[in-house]
């Protein structure tokens, strides 16, 4: 799950959407704040203008008594919560609906009515000397406070839903594109590992860019598959075309060998030519067989096989040859090895190739161990020797077709053995691992066991 979130976080659409959301929010907030400040300022100006106008209205009163009456009249109709009027007459009498008092904390507006003597909230007051007294008019700033609430409401009602919608849209897009990118990645992995039939096949819901990339990859894979098939066809055709001439050469050599008048030297040459021809034939056979397996020999012929039987057959077959050439061939088979799905003949040939490789590339006295074991990663078939081994940097190369180590150029062999092993292992879905046997080479083929429910036993 964490990995999925991390993957999502790396995805381009999500990052873009998040960036846009942040930008949009900042711009909205700045705009809202600016209009709040401007509105507040113009409200305050309006209040100030209103107060000046009122003061000017009172200034029209001809005497202090008239002013007091005017203030009283107006105060009677006015709520001090909104507008506080206070006139301190020259005779020290107070008129109006409130008094403005001052203490250490600052100015306070006090109501003159009995119900609510103190008034809370901010007021803007204007005071001036008039008719020998002091006239003070204060207006509540509660309207401006209300403005703040209005702006907060605007923020909550407009910006938050926008952000939520943008975010969920971004996550949806990111998830979708992450899925598509994963599909492309898996296809490329399969193409890289040699499965040229892999295709992206972008669906109708794919975004335009990814769909285009997917389509291009499919076109590329198609082209590659066709050209590989063409090359295979050509090499297969060449091999087939050459088989008849090779057969004829074999026939001519056989005829030549039958001539009784042949001098011993010539007979010797004919024998050598025949054995060289055998080598050519065996390389051709291996190449054709590898090509046939790679071009997708159907796995329908696979049956559950006992690797134990296979190893026993092969070890028994090679034991005399190994001991004649001065090697020790050991077999170790763990108990209860589960069956694997496979082609008996191909797997026997795989094991034979590994044993022959070991016999051919190790000096007299070397020990060759064929082992069958059950490990957590699967059923491990291994052939280990105590010979010179393969340098680590060469371990990929030796799996290539016709590749041979420099020091092996003088020993017989086609350079196809390990390539054949790797092709057969891949056909069986088995992993091929070359390890250092310290000293020597250890080749492991790791099979997946047949699921317990489908064990049928080997074909009779």
């Amino acid at each position: 799950m964490n990995a999925r979130i991390a993957g999502l976080w790396r995805s381009m659409p999500l990052r873009l959407a998040l960036g846009l959301v942040v930008l949009f929010s900042v711009v909205s907030l700045v705009g809202l704040a600016a209009s709040y400040v401007l509105t507040e300022r113009s409200f305050e100006q309006a209040i100030r203008a209103d107060l000046s106008q009122r003061i000017a209205g009172f200034r029209a009163a001809p005497s202090a008594a008239a002013l007091a009456t005017l203030v009283e009249t107006e105060a009677r109709e006015t709520d001090p919560e909104r507008l506080a009027l206070s006139y301190l007459a020259p005779n020290q009498r107070r008129y109006g609906n409130a008094v403005i008092a001052r203490d250490d904390e600052g100015y306070h507006v006090l109501s003159l009515s009995q119900e609510s003597p103190t008034l809370s909230g901010d007021y803007l007051a204007l005071t001036t000397a008039m008719q020998g007294g002091q006239l003070t008019i204060a207006r509540s700033l509660s309207e401006i406070d209300a403005l703040r609430t209005v702006f907060l409401n605007i923020l909550v009602l407009s910006l938050l839903p926008t952000i939520l919608i943008a975010l969920s849209g971004a996550v949806y897009l990111a998830l979708r594109s992450a899925r598509n990118v994963a599909t492309v990645g898996k296809t490329l992995d399969r193409l890289t590992s040699g499965d040229l039939q892999a295709r992206v096949r972008p669906g109708a819901d794919w975004s335009g860019d990814l769909a285009e990339i997917g389509t291009k990859i499919d076109e590329m894979a198609q082209a590659q598959e066709s050209s590989v098939a063409a090359i295979r066809q050509v090499s297969s055709d060449i091999a087939h075309d050459l088989k008849t001439p090779i057969q004829r050469v074999a026939v001519h050599l056989a005829d030549l060998a039958d001539r009784e008048e042949l001098p011993p030297q010539a007979r010797d040459l004919v024998d050598r030519a025949r054995s060289e021809l055998d080598g050519v034939v065996s390389v051709f056979r291996s190449l054709l067989q590898i090509a046939q397996i790679e071009s997708g020999t159907p796995r329908s012929g696979f049956v559950p096989l006992s690797l134990t039987d296979l190893v026993n057959t092969c070890s028994e077959l090679y034991e005399p040859a190994a001991s004649d050439s001065g090697h020790h061939l050991d077999t170790r088979i763990a108990r209860d090895i589960p069956n694997v799905m496979g082609d008996r003949n191909l797997l026997l040939q795989l094991l034979a190739n590994l044993i022959e490789n070991a016999l051919r590339h190790t000096p007299v006295g070397s020990r060759i161990t064929v082992e069958l074991d059950r490990r957590p990663r699967g059923v491990v078939l291994s052939v280990a020797d105590t010979g010179p081994g393969i340098p680590e940097e060469e371990s990929d190369n030796v799996l290539q077709r016709l590749y041979r180590l420099d020091r092996s150029r003088m020993t017989p062999g086609s350079g196809l053995g390990l390539n054949f092993v790797s092709v057969v292992a891949r056909l069986h879905g088995a992993d091929l691992v070359l390890r250092d046997n310290d000293p020597g080479l250890r080749v492991e083929v790791v099979f997946e066991p047949v699921a317990a429910t489908s064990i049928l036993g080997p074909r009779p």
Partner: protein, 223 residues
């Protein structure tokens, strides 16, 4: 015996027919599938040698058609393909044996003789004999000139195989197929080493050689 060879390549065809004639067989050679069908339905042959890739009617169709018409003549397929699938395909079509080009004549000759005498002598006896050698199949005991020979199970199987086919050459690949059920040709001389182990026990302590090497072909125990 009377053999029909169907091979479109003239050199290979001549090689097959000349070799088989030298061994005393009568050989008819035809070069395409249509002609082969006419010949095979007309004459009665002991063995047919059929190339899988033929002009006009290919080898598989030819043999399927013959089998469909009730012709049971043993067929040896020749092929230039040569993989397990082709072998199984050929045998499924009604072929009795299968040989991949290029082949040594000894291999062809040994397989043709094996086919002609199919099914191999099914001897129900409990004891097999070859000259001075006796094989008790029930007690799994081998004696030669009264001396008991201790054989490993696989050596016993090889000896039994050779004695049951007395007088006929068994090639390396025939032994691999029959004894180990292996249908590929190992590069190492594994069969030779098994035979030499067997010889060391069966022949070496005695005067005469029972298991003969046929040069360029295989092994034989004389009748």
């Amino acid at each position: 015996m009377k053999i029909l060879a169907v091979e479109d390549d003239a050199t290979t065809g001549a090689f097959i027919s000349r070799g088989l004639r030298e061994e005393g067989h009568s050989v008819d050679l035809v070069t395409n599938g249509r002609e082969a069908l006419i010949q095979a339905t007309g004459g009665s042959y002991d063995v047919m040698i059929v190339d899988r890739m033929l002009p006009e009617i290919d080898g598989l169709t030819l043999v399927k058609t013959l089998r469909g018409a009730g012709n049971q003549t043993p067929v040896l397929f020749l092929t230039s393909l040569g993989s397990v699938d082709d072998r199984i395909g050929g045998l499924n079509a009604g072929g009795d044996d299968y040989l991949v080009k290029p082949f040594a004549f000894g291999e062809l000759s040994a397989r043709v003789s094996a086919l002609a005498r199919r099914p191999p002598a099914v001897e129900q006896e409990a004891v097999l004999r070859a000259g001075p050698l006796e094989m008790d199949l029930i007690a799994r005991k081998v004696t030669r000139e009264g001396v008991e020979i201790d054989l490993l199970p696989r050596e016993f199987a090889i000896l039994e195989h050779l004695i049951r086919r007395k007088g006929r050459v068994q090639t390396r690949t025939m032994l691999l197929e029959s004894i180990w059920d292996i249908n590929f040709d190992p590069m190492t001389n594994v069969v030779e080493t098994h035979i030499s182990r067997l010889r060391a026990k069966v022949d070496k302590p005695f005067d005469s050689e029972l298991i003969k090497t046929v040069r360029g072909a295989g092994y034989r125990i004389d009748a």
